[in-house]
Symmetry: C2
């Protein structure tokens, strides 16, 4: 059984469904990514294994939600890839000429361009988190931060069959 | 250098930023989760290690985006926790009486209640994906599907310091 007690701040939950087939509503920007990458051509395809540091700035309104985040060695960061093309459903990748559905790739171009990076938390200073492993472009809106759990998030034997090496690897 | 060629479908990319501080816009519902969990009390805190099967129904408009997804052994599924409370910034968890910031927990209650599950893909039948490992409530809107890559998504030595065992574990 699950029970969660909660401290609330002002503001009400907003149901996001109108009709049966749509989510409408507002994604809240909780902060902004400060990264070394000004444009896509300079950004790594996947940031995980870069040593470059980015800073996640969480807006002051959301700073209470960071309590104890410094106790997490790694984080899952969700951000909005605001320069992506949301109309693309199939795409080529940097790894070959074949066309794949975007749900079988990590392309930023997808119906909901939510970027996901697993990052190492280097340091927290107030509402600023210095991290390694982001591939987000500078200025990308932050939308969520979650603690990474190796128990629930790590799968050693996962395979991506369309990739010739059986997995999507970091490639600059 | 990164270069992506793309097949487009109708519809234009929609910039989501208005002003400096806000994301406004529409999350597109790409499908729906059919799960055995009708209410939160019956759902696992984390679905990863359950054997229960859920079915991800992708709407017909987005079926082309599934091309080759059956080649992925595991997927990252993002869904909208439409019954969550978006105003909560700090919360207790099922693991203890301490209060943590929601960004240091996996609570569904958070500013943007985007649920994230790493699932095993059991079977694809057209636009229906049978998966193991979801904890989403029945009827939750689907918002993204990504291939899981052990190279970029798996961190064996991650630690969550506030948890007495050093990690967030599945708990029914």
């Amino acid at each position: 059984m699950r029970k969660i007690d909660a401290l609330c701040v002002s503001g009400e939950a907003q149901p996001l469904i109108e009709g049966d087939m749509k989510i409408r509503g507002e994604l809240k920007q909780i902060g902004v990514v400060h990264s070394p990458y000004q444009e896509r051509m300079g950004a790594p395809s996947q940031g995980r294994h870069t040593n470059e540091e980015s800073t996640l700035e969480v807006f002051a309104d959301y700073e209470p939600a960071l309590l104890d985040v410094e106790q997490c060695s790694h984080l899952i960061v969700l951000y909005w890839q605001d320069r992506a093309n949301r109309s693309i459903l199939q795409t080529r990748t940097p790894w070959g000429p074949e066309v794949h559905g975007v749900f079988a790739t990590r392309s930023p171009n997808r119906p909901n361009p939510i970027g996901l990076c697993v990052v190492k938390l280097v340091e927290r200073e107030g509402r600023f988190l210095k991290v390694q492993g982001m591939d987000a472009l500078d200025g990308s809106p932050l939308i969520d931060i979650k603690p990474y759990s190796h128990h629930i998030d790590s799968v050693q034997d996962a395979r991506v069959g369309w990739h010739k090496r059986g997995d999507i690897k970091a490639k600059k």
